[in-house]
Symmetry: C3
Subunit: 439 residues, 3 copies
């Protein structure tokens, strides 16, 4: 499962162009935007199953809300000029706004306007899923230029009994133990804090599907954030708790910022160690605890649910200025940034797939020389690769896994794996415990 | 059990004025000075029981000594002038001095004099409880001025079969589990290293007595240091080991120095964590290990006794220059200093009384919005109090107690308690384990 | 087991003069050099048993090699002048060189020459035990001066079915539990990285033999490095695993560099704590993990063998420039350096022999005063030795051993031992667990 056969450029370009295609769609936690998004993803993900959950379905403490659709929205100034138009930016309307068609004086209108004085050129992203209201989001620059007078506001939306929609893809492996990957498809035109997740997940699924074999079964869900995760878990809790051995929430993973890891609730799972270690191998690793959480780990890791799930990100939501504004556009994510994010997840999966506990087959250090694994003459120094072989042999004691050894030696897991495979070929190691047993 | 209803000024003033009243009394480890002190304390502590233990009573490796009384003591110089007089300072006589009425040349007298060259204006506090001798303590300045000649020394003391006296107060709670507070009443006119302990303990007991309810039973002892604690424990060991869940030794707790915590012998009890955490919340916390001990924890935490007991202090005995000299007078302790000491103990007791383990009543994050516990619309940031609610819910997993959560979030316990109470009112938390179970 | 009766000068001088006597011998992993070395050691070690293991004997993954003997070796330059001669330095021939008698042009000769460009005045120490070849080691300065032409090379060596030779000494103790000391005798004229080990071990064994009693049985082996240890362990594994409670590999222990400790494989044995603590008491302690290993701990601590064994050294092999060259001569080790190394091992053995768990015989602090263990009067300070007594009493709880207490108090073990003996004499301590139980 090396990355050598995968040109970063090809994968990165694919992911970015997929994001470009998905960017214009007006998504929310329900509605046709989600359906259109999943429709496009399913072109790359054969087997993606689309689920529709009726409004009113209970999801733990929550209820699947009415479906929201938005056909048009605009504001006309006192001169009748259309100064705000949904067609220009789908962030202009507060998500889940109730329909409105009214003429309002400026001071009344102001109560429904949202802008960011500290980021005057940005349209903020605002939602009001559970509080019935309406609102218009504009740049603060535009807001400052509004003149007194009557404004005509039209929001041609609808709230009705419909469905919450999500997609699910299962790639079976040799084991019924599962690796669970969750990403969300509910934000309108926002690139890093939304589309990076689905496009990296799509590329990851494609790559996994192309592998000759998989130890784990991989389960992907493309869902609305929060209510989607709650709904999904409430309907699949037993299965998830029985099968999921490792989970990832993927978001904000397409920019070129430092790599980061956000811990599970208790931060003490084997997967946490893996995520932390893989991220720690990057140039300027960033570590977050569960106190920094802000996405669907809130559900997956909640008490009583407690899936072993971490978040892998580049720059975390909230930590970059474009977050939740119209500035989080396609320029924030890059082919290189997306490729790095994909590789990061893949490095974790490599540990999951290939870690194991081995035991040396001989007592005392084996005679590496007669197997061509040692230098011929001995003087002052020992070669690095020889040292690595003896280290792997010394700690393959039926207790330390390859990942443990990687951590002990502060070397990339892949390097230890390569040495272990060489020693296995020479009959110097034998397996004790398989992958899942070490999780 | 908040401190809001208690004016620091009123409590502080009360404590300082009580110290003023107790200051002149000539106390020792036995005798009428202790009885007079306890008599005054009992005016504020209805229910204070005075115990008298006969001389000769065995106390582990020790024996209750003869009672010591001192009626008069003075030194006349060669001119017949009274240059040292017990009436001026009860530190002038080495505690437990045998009676003497003799005329001595200066060089003989010198063998019985105690002074501090490095603190020439201070009269040292010297005791000789178990080695029969006598001595006079004076300032080094005075000592340097002594002229050759014959001195008349009178110590009108008596050693006789009597009693060791101590006071005990029990404030019953809902539980027979006890919080044990020990402080000592055996030093003569010394303020911080003695009187701060009894006056803070008196104010604490008054406050506890005024509470509508108490979970724990509170047991206070006002005893002579060392032999008093040994005597008390030797007569109450089974009860203490069966009932005491937390104990405090209170001394040096009335100055305005930094707050400090001194660990129990192994330093690993729940109470240690509480004391350390509460002190760590102060501006310049000071942490001592049991190796720094010097008071009755030597008995309470001795091997085989091992009560879970810590010391809370402001400036520890031995760490301030006035310690064990006439300079440790009423100016060393202040209403503000005493109030701070009282509040420190109270903060620990608040954790003891109100910590508990809770569990969220719903799976997944509850819908705070419909309970008025969330902001209405969601854009870039989450309010601090909302975050705190979600943190408390996330770690109320039936395993972490509120105090655990406070430590995890690095917030004052009181803040976590307030949030938990709000969530309890909304039915979002349910109790799993009570207070004592978390100790 | 104090060191007071041993003049460092006498022991140090003895060790250095023994090293001088052993230095000229041409040792290898087999052969008469080893036999001659052990013969000399046996003069100081009555009871040293010499073992001969036949070539071809299996030792785990290895086989005892043919025996190697070397009678003569030289190189003549094109002028017939003898420019390299084994008689000048036994490092000139690669150990285990096959016999050769040939005339070679310079460029052919170069393929068999070994020198160190970065250390032009040093003859390197090179071995080729398991790859049949031959080689000549010279200084790089000499190598640069070689002129074109034909060189006559003679190596009058022999490889034949013989034996691997090692010495073993057992000093019985009260217990059949063993302390195992291993050191190697297979390097030719190399002082610190070879002879320091055997001479310190010899002095240690002499000293142990002179003790009136020993708790542990002490087993010394003087063996060829690597194949010797493998051979020894393969023939004695059950015995070693059943009896060895602590082991030391002694090498590079005669220079005046900083003291160092190299951990056992897992680094978590009681002996590791002892070695670490004793070394930490030196001026600039150096700590190595098992990843820094390079001597026979590779066998003794291998998975499945796992003896509790550490290395004690002054400057570790590979960390000083003279290592494995002709510069590692008798000037690298000194009487003072050797004495320090010996004392370091002895300090560890003192803990092994005398550690134990005690319990105070009285509840509460005992009355030290009536036993003459306290100062007579009490004022501001407590004497250090009194404090130490109370600390030892406070932690003699039937759980902490004296060594635990030494670590807790950050004092030398010997100091704690002295206090404990004094308290034992006064009946204030009683033993709970003996030495071996604390390992």
């Amino acid at each position: 499962m090396t990355q050598d056969n995968h040109s970063p450029t090809a994968e990165g370009q694919f992911m970015h162009s997929l994001a470009e295609r998905l960017f214009p769609i007006t998504r929310s936690i329900t509605g046709d935007g989600v359906r259109e998004t999943l429709g496009i993803l399913s072109q790359y993900l054969p087997g993606l199953v689309i689920h529709e959950v009726p409004s009113g379905t209970e999801a733990f403490d929550w209820t699947v809300p009415e479906e929201w659709s938005i056909r048009d929205a605009y504001v006309e100034d006192p001169n009748g000029q259309r100064i705000v138009d949904l067609r220009n930016s789908n962030l202009h309307v507060v998500s889940y706004s109730v329909p409105v068609d009214a003429v309002l004086p400026l001071d009344e209108l102001q109560k429904h306007l949202h802008s960011l004085p500290e980021q005057p050129s940005a349209i903020p992203y605002v939602t009001s899923y559970y509080n019935r209201t309406w609102g218009i989001c504009i740049t603060d620059t535009q807001r400052q230029e509004l003149v007194p007078g009557d404004y005509h506001v039209v929001i041609d939306s609808a709230l009705f009994d419909g469905h919450l929609t999500y997609g699910e893809l299962v790639l079976p492996g040799e084991s019924s133990d599962e690796v669970f990957i969750s990403t969300y498809v509910c934000h309108p035109s926002l690139a890093n804090n939304e589309l990076s997740g689905p496009v990296v997940s799509t590329a990851l699924a494609s790559w996994l599907a192309s592998q000759p074999s998989r130890h784990f079964t991989y389960r992907f869900v493309f869902i609305p954030e929060s209510i989607g995760a709650l709904t999904y878990v409430s309907q699949n809790l037993d299965h998830l708790q029985e099968h999921v051995r490792a989970g990832f929430n993927l978001t904000c993973i397409g920019d070129e910022g430092d790599y980061s890891y956000l811990a599970s609730r208790l931060g003490n799972t084997r997967l946490d160690a893996i995520g932390r270690y893989v991220v720690s191998g990057t140039e300027r690793p960033v570590f977050y605890t569960y106190l920094d959480r802000g996405s669907d780990e809130r559900t997956y890791c909640a008490p009583g649910i407690d899936l072993p799930l971490i978040s892998l990100m580049r720059t975390r939501y909230g930590n970059y200025p474009e977050y939740h504004t119209s500035l989080d556009d396609l320029s924030v994510i890059t082919p290189t940034g997306l490729q790095g994010g994909l590789d990061l997840v893949r490095d974790c999966i490599e540990v999951l797939e290939y870690d194991g506990v081995y035991r040396t087959t001989v007592l005392g250090e084996p005679q590496l020389g007669r197997r061509g694994l040692y230098h011929q003459m001995h003087s002052k120094t020992v070669e690095d690769v020889v040292l690595l072989r003896t280290h792997v042999l010394s700690y393959s004691d039926g207790d330390h896994s390859l990942f443990d050894i990687a951590q002990l030696l502060e070397r990339p897991f892949r390097e230890i794996l390569q040495v272990a495979r060489e020693l296995l070929e020479h009959g110097l190691l034998e397996p004790v415990l398989g992958r899942e047993d070490s999780l």
